[in-house]
């Protein structure tokens, strides 16, 4: 048990659970608690079934717990339950079957969320992380995953995303730098979604390149320069889409 608690995935799951708990102080929602339980069951059961299908020996499902918690934090609790359940199943499907050379390609929670948003025409809401900058304690809790992803997993070069994205906003759209650097949603994205170790480069230079690629692409498909011309689907989340595209392109450059 002690060894399990020392693993990065279990520590990440604990940090994400704390973020969920702190969000309940702002959004006192029983629906959110129900949604959390249902989504977690969905990812755990589907991961269990898919592992059995693949003939893999079962292990502690820390990845499924992390994915389930991320999906809870980003999916609106008021959605009909079949939607987050489907998102959980899609996430575990991508983790277990969209693989090359024994490695899954896409961030599982990101894949589940984006495909769910396109199938059900529901925008990814980011409800639980959107307000985390308002209180000191909630902001501190939001930063906790950084200890695991940036320092323990040595993924701090991916922080290049936030730096590059902030400067693109500042120079091209005149958005204040501090507004981007302390945006709780972007901090969560940088500390939790981007540095997922299985789907991002290990090499430090490639991590920087990955971060910059995601920043540039996310900015381009969000900005007025491109959106009007491309008539992008309105529910397409630019951050998650850029992440998954980065996963695909950098898959070969681990």
């Amino acid at each position: 048990m002690k060894n399990l608690l020392k693993t990065p995935k279990v520590q990440m799951a604990s940090a994400l659970f704390l973020i969920f708990l702190s969000s309940l102080f702002e959004f006192k929602s029983f629906q959110a608690i129900v949604a959390f339980a249902v989504i977690l069951l969905s990812t755990l059961i589907s991961d269990f079934i898919f592992l059995k299908i693949r003939g893999i020996k079962l292990f502690f499902p820390s990845a499924a717990i992390v994915s389930g918690t991320i999906i809870t934090l980003l999916s609106l609790p008021a959605l009909p339950l079949y939607i987050p359940i489907s998102i959980g199943i899609l996430a575990m499907f991508s983790k277990n079957f969209i693989r090359i050379e024994n490695r899954h390609i896409f961030n599982p929670a990101g894949f589940g969320l984006l495909s769910g948003s396109l199938i059900f025409s529901q925008t990814i809401s980011w409800w639980a992380v959107s307000w985390q900058g308002k209180l000191l304690i909630s902001f501190a809790i939001l930063l906790l995953p950084g200890i695991i992803s940036l320092i323990r997993l040595k993924r701090f070069q991916i922080f290049s995303f936030l730096i590059f994205y902030a400067f693109l906003n500042f120079f091209l759209l005149r958005q204040p730098l501090n507004g981007t650097f302390i945006d709780p949603m972007l901090i969560f994205y940088s500390l939790v979604m981007l540095p997922e170790p299985m789907t991002t480069p290990n090499n430090h230079f490639r991590q920087i390149t990955f971060g910059i690629f995601v920043a540039v692409f996310a900015f381009l498909i969000s900005s007025p320069f491109i959106v009007a011309k491309l008539h992008l689907v309105s529910v397409l989340d630019p951050l998650i889409f850029s992440l998954l595209l980065g996963n695909l392109i950098f898959f070969k450059f681990k």
Partner: protein, 135 residues
Amino acid sequence: MNKKILVLLIAIVVVGSLVFWINNKGKVSTLVETPKTSATPSPFKKNEVVVTIDKNGFEPSSLKIKKGQRVVWVNKSGNKVTVNSNNHPTHLIYPPLNLGEFKDGFSVQLVFDKVGTFGYHNHYKPSQTGEIIVE
């Protein structure tokens, strides 16, 4: 390792406090509290158009105005809401529309000085959307 984690936690709290303090320092509120009683004269001026936010979203969800007119969003939803530019969650298509969060009974406003169609949404419930068509 335990000492390192403790130092890191202290650093997080210190940095977080600093960031929190910088973020909230000298914030000028652009919120306007709207009188709740109907007995008082309407606070809205002639060149202003009002959009009401209730539990279902923005009403009217689509609004045509002339260039230079002011739109006032009044929150009557019972909860905090936001007015943010599309697309969710990056809000970059028309940044002046990022008017932020405001409580029930308060309002935010913007003068539209450019012609075009400007989509927006409530960041806390992004399915609640609206658009302003400026001619």
